[in-house]
């Protein structure tokens, strides 16, 4: 029940395309849903986050869509750039910890 399921495991997108990564959860106690971006050898960096009382949040080229009834949320990267190539983790928070998905390796081809 504590799991966060993330898909796809890897994604290849052409420059300028839209990257979409999906996550699903079971635990209704989760109340905060961040996305993290991780480059090789670096720590996860907070990208964007949403609370379950809103259905969408947009920051620049990054948008989170949240479906509370379906217990699903997704990250959309518009106009994907080669510099966006990284591993993306969704996460869900309850109380004092973050539960992470398994990650999506995004490759944006020039």
């Amino acid at each position: 029940q504590q799991q966060v399921k993330q898909s796809p495991q890897s994604l290849i997108v052409q420059k300028g395309g839209i990257s979409i990564i999906n996550c699903a959860y079971e635990n209704t106690a989760f109340d905060y849903f961040p996305w993290y971006q991780q480059f090789p050898g670096k720590g996860p960096a907070l990208l964007i986050a949403i609370r379950p009382d809103v259905s969408e949040k947009k920051e620049g080229r990054f948008t989170i869509s949240f479906n509370k009834s379906a217990k699903q949320f997704s990250l959309h990267i518009m106009d994907s750039q080669p510099g966006d190539s990284a591993t993306y983790f969704c996460a869900a928070s309850s109380n004092y910890k973050l539960t992470f998905g398994k990650g999506t390796l995004l490759t944006v081809n020039p």
Partner: protein, 114 residues
Amino acid sequence: EPEVTQTPSHQVTQMGQEVILRCVPISNHLYFYWYRQILGQKVEFLVSFYNNEISEKSEIFDDQFSVERPDGSNFTLKIRSTKLEDSAMYFCASSEHRANTEAFFGQGTRLTVV
């Protein structure tokens, strides 16, 4: 921009030895965390710490692990007797409020147990 700093960046230790991983959280943050990431796998929660005590810990965080905030700035993770399976990247994180707000991660310490 404030950041979480971790030392060392890489630690090699022999099985059975004690290691201490060090972190300096962001100065006005009150909640501190350790996570680990085995190579190629997801980030896993180890422990959270607030007001000088453990708030929550995972099943990974057994008696071999301990955390401490020895002074006003450092936050440490100690592994008493390292095992091969402890080899991983260890990340310290901090947040101003609870984990349901922004948690900022350090660059990590790569621990290799040989």
